[in-house]
């Protein structure tokens, strides 16, 4: 992989006097296998690479990228980035990250075992996943998708400010959408398992989850509109935390787009809420050794017992806010570094989901949500999302519910957290999940 760093070094060496240059060079090998009716429906295996070049000169920043490591195109890319810089407004805080002495942990995110796995072994997992879903319940009527996906990726970052970082990682997952039918009623359910090598994938659990989630919704009805206590499934909580992460980004704060901008040090959530962003936890799907500017990734406590402790920053937003980067530059090779949480989790409690359901008495278990991108406004905090799940009656799971929404505001939901489950789950996204109990949420239905 040092050849990527060599390419980055060569680009950086072309910097002119007074010019800061950053080169990000990546390469990936991705495999995606879709199975349908015990046959491979499609098998895609492809190598990709790219380079992104950022130039900062006289307080102006320019950027260009190319999806190739072809030497001639790289030359054009540097020239384009330079030219683009001429049009930016002078910004006194513009500039690349500088080495900050924080040691980069070796998280062992790259596994030779995945690189050495045969395509046949991967196909077998996807076939087994589909078979297991079909076998799980007689009411399983079809499989919308059953797939195996993996990625081997390497990246190198070099800058004129002395950063030279390399990293590589492997990841894989299996995922399936199952359909269950009874009479004319059809419902769907999702199941998955994530890991860094094949041995870490739990195909049986993924299949059982999908089958269970689809079959238990059979016969679902639209609930009446009312205010209730909801229990969010870990899968739903993770999506909620992913959204919350945006509001704690230093960029949103500095640009007046965060509803928490003026609230550092205040009680913004129930004392039960401790929110941590920790990409150095190797169990997280999005764990990483370094951030998008080549600084060491690190653990940041964002909300501690309900108190807002910290926003996350990249080099630019930190400089502008008069603080240090928290190692939260996020990017691909085709964009400049943004700021974002990388692996958010809520400090788990001890209760199982069943214990939480029992403690709630009456309410709704939300097993899936839809339309988060269209129904949640991260600037105003308005929250409204499509949902499906199960009625909780007398502390037990009861009849299934569908075609309703749950609504509140992000601000209120944080204060309305009344219990946090101990069932921490690692998911194929930048947040992990626990079962979460939130009071006083509006269900809109019939």
């Amino acid at each position: 992989m040092s050849d990527l760093l060599d390419i980055a070094d060569r680009i950086v060496a072309l910097a002119a006097d007074g010019e800061q240059v950053e080169a990000v060079v990546v390469r990936g090998l991705d495999t995606e296998i879709k199975v349908y009716e015990a046959e491979v429906e499609s098998l895609s295996s492809a190598q990709s690479q790219g380079v992104g070049v950022r130039v900062v000169v006289g307080g102006r920043q320019g950027f260009a990228y190319a999806g190739t490591l072809d030497a001639e195109v790289i030359g054009e890319t540097l020239a384009e980035a330079r030219d683009n810089a001429r049009f930016a407004t002078i910004d006194e805080w513009a500039g690349l990250a500088e080495a900050d002495g924080v040691a980069v942990a070796d998280l062992r995110l790259y596994r030779n075992a995945l690189a050495d796995s045969s395509t046949d072994a991967k196909v077998a997992l996807a076939v087994e996943l589909e078979r297991a879903v079909r076998a799980a319940d007689q009411r399983i009527s079809g499989i919308e998708s059953a797939e195996y996906v993996d990625s081997l990726s390497e990246a190198a970052i070099a800058t004129t400010t002395g950063i030279r970082s390399v990293g590589r990682e492997t990841s894989c997952y299996v995922a399936t959408y199952a359909m269950a039918s009874e009479g004319s009623d059809t419902q769907t359910g999702f199941g998955f398992s994530v890991g860094r090598e094949l041995a870490e994938l739990d195909v049986a659990r993924a299949a059982a989850d999908a089958a269970d989630r689809a079959t238990r919704l059979l016969g679902a009805q639209k609930p009446p509109s009312e205010r209730v206590t909801v229990v969010l499934d870990p899968w739903v909580t993770a999506q909620f935390l992913g959204l919350l992460g945006y509001t704690l980004s230093g960029e949103a704060v500095l640009k007046g787009r965060s509803l928490f901008a003026d609230r550092l040090g205040e009680q913004v959530a129930s004392p039960l809420v401790t929110l941590v962003d920790d990409p150095t936890d190797p169990r997280a799907f999005t764990a990483t050794d370094t951030d998008g500017e080549g600084l060491a990734a690190r653990r940041n406590v964002l909300i501690s017992n309900g108190h807002l402790d910290r926003f996350v920053h990249n080099a630019y937003t930190a400089r502008r806010a008069g603080t240090a980067s928290t190692g939260n530059a996020v990017r691909g090779y085709s964009s400049t570094p943004g700021v974002g949480c990388m692996a958010v989790s809520m400090r788990p409690g001890t209760a199982t989901q069943a214990e939480l359901v029992a403690s709630v008495g009456d309410g709704v278990l939300v097993q899936d949500v839809s339309g988060l991108h269209s129904g949640v406004n991260l600037v105003s905090g308005d929250f409204s999302t499509g949902a499906e799940g199960l009625r909780i009656r007398g502390g037990e799971l009861a009849e299934p519910l569908r075609e309703f929404t749950i609504a509140s505001t992000l601000q209120r939901m944080l204060h309305d957290v009344t219990a946090v489950g101990g069932d921490l789950q690692w998911l194929p996204m930048n947040a992990s999940g626990v079962s979460l109990v939130i009071a006083d949420v509006t269900v809109s239905g019939a």
Partner: protein, 463 residues
């Protein structure tokens, strides 16, 4: 992009293990964008993506590989990989006679964005920011973005198809934050067409900027949206995404074939109210979802999906159509050469009816008027779908009264299609969209006249 003789050799390699079908899709895309945010030209970005995807079909199995290396050696290596992935049985030499298809979109690009000075693009951003901020002191943040792309593609396959296209798209958006006693609200306006820099002759940027600002300002006075079922009036041009989600995805032949659509087996049946005609039309000139050919080399078409309430046909890509022994409907699309094509919409719209739009509101006793929809999502197997309202008002006694805060609406596709009880005579296309099926983004357009759904669930918090 690639010589015909090289294509012949690559297709022959792809079929060496006995594939039934092979295809080369080459792409060279240049894009540029500019972002003005927080009172600064934050950055200009230039991008170049070039490569080829090769697929081989053996029976029901598709093998796919892509490469950024467009030399013959690079293409042959990818063809080998795709053939190995598909794992054919027999083998042998196949010769393909390629016939060039012409791709004509019926209009010409007037000004290629690459010929426009970057300074001119930056001027537009600055101007929009000034106008939005001048609208009202409560506008506290403005972000303006510009983007253009030129995508050249070449598709050749073992059926002898050889087709190429050159597509230019230009985009512009303004987003505002307004701050008041009730917190912050946002407003956004965007325009995008399959045209060059003449986009800015078609629209007044200053008007666009002030509309975005107004949308945020109006919501500072907004009350929480209601919770529960009531009539919903969708304004002309503002809500085509309703049909994209309520029935569009469910009419994609790949989902239908897997039984993952509530519209499976319903061709010829009544699925919507009389007067409801839904069309997907890749040939709509200059619209955001316009195509000359799709990403499998088939000419774009105008396809009637629902005619006067009756389901007439699904949308098809090449693989699904081959299986059914019919022609593709020109709906095979992909995000880039790194992706396999699948059935996708282009410009999806509902034809106008005869009702007076004002009368539709006036005849609604209590309901919601949605002027502008955000995105949406559908579960095609159950038909349940949601879409967000980014500008909406309460209707009381046939009059538009108070503005509402944002939220999702939820409904069931087949039910909602049957509940359309008024159709305006004022059709308009809406803003540009990106459809994200299976994680692949492609540009799509949509349009509707003013219409009313007799009952939909509004996902607000107010009683």
């Amino acid at each position: 992009m690639i010589d015909e003789v090289v294509i012949d050799r690559v297709l022959a390699t792809a079929l060496r293990t006995g594939g039934d079908f092979a295809e080369v899709f080459a792409e060279d895309k240049r894009s540029s964008s500019a972002l003005f945010d927080d009172e600064k030209v934050e950055e200009l970005t230039s991008g170049r993506d070039r490569g080829a995807g090769i697929r081989v079909v053996v029976g029901d199995t598709t093998g796919f590989a892509h490469t950024a290396d467009l030399t013959e050696a690079g293409l042959i290596a990818a063809a080998d990989a795709a053939a190995a992935a598909a794992r054919g049985g027999g083998g042998g030499t196949q010769v393909v006679a390629l016939t060039r298809r012409t791709a004509d979109r019926g209009y010409a690009i007037e000004t290629y964005p690459e010929d426009v000075a970057k300074a001119r693009k930056v001027e537009l951003l600055t101007r929009a920011d000034e106008v939005a901020r001048a609208t009202d002191g409560a506008i506290t943040q403005v972000s303006v973005s510009y983007g253009d792309s030129r995508r050249r593609i070449l598709v050749a396959n073992s059926d002898g198809v050889l087709a190429a296209d050159d597509t230019v798209r230009t985009f512009f958006a303004v987003s505002c934050v307004a701050t008041g006693d009730t917190g912050m609200q946002t407003g956004r306006e965007s325009i995008g067409h399959t045209v060059g820099f003449e986009l800015f002759d078609m629209y007044d940027i200053e008007e666009l900027a002030s509309r975005a600002a107004d949308r945020a300002l109006v919501k500072l006075q907004a009350r929480p949206a209601p919770s529960g079922q009531m009539p919903v009036v969708i304004a002309s041009g503002g809500g085509g995404v309703l049909f994209h989600e309520a029935c569009g995805h469910g009419l994609e032949a790949d989902l239908v074939a897997k039984g993952a659509s509530v519209f499976k087996g319903r061709v010829g049946e009544r699925v919507a109210s009389p007067g409801v005609t839904v069309v997907d039309d890749g040939t709509m000139q200059r619209e955001w979802g316009n195509l000359a050919i799709d990403d499998e080399g088939n000419p774009a078409q105008r396809n009637v999906l629902i005619e006067d309430g009756y389901l007439s046909d699904y949308m098809w890509d090449l693989l699904r159509a081959r299986k059914e022994g019919r022609a593709s409907s020109g709906n095979g699309r992909r995000q880039s050469y790194q992706h396999l094509p699948m059935v996708r919409m282009t410009n999806t719209y509902l034809l106008a009816g005869h009702d007076d739009p004002d009368a539709i509101v006036a005849s609604t006793d209590k309901g919601v008027l949605v002027k502008h929809l955000g995105g949406g999502q559908v579960n095609t197997a159950t038909g349940d779908f949601v879409f967000g309202m980014t500008e909406a008002y309460l209707i009381e006694g046939g009059k538009i009264t108070e503005p509402l805060r944002e939220g999702n609406l939820i409904g069931n596709g087949p039910e909602v299609l049957q509940r359309i009880d008024a159709l305006g005579n004022d059709f308009a296309m809406g803003p540009p969209g990106t459809c994200g099926k299976d994680g692949q983004g492609v540009p799509v357009g949509d349009g509707v006249p003013t219409l009313r759904v007799s009952s939909l669930t509004i996902g607000g918090t107010a009683a």
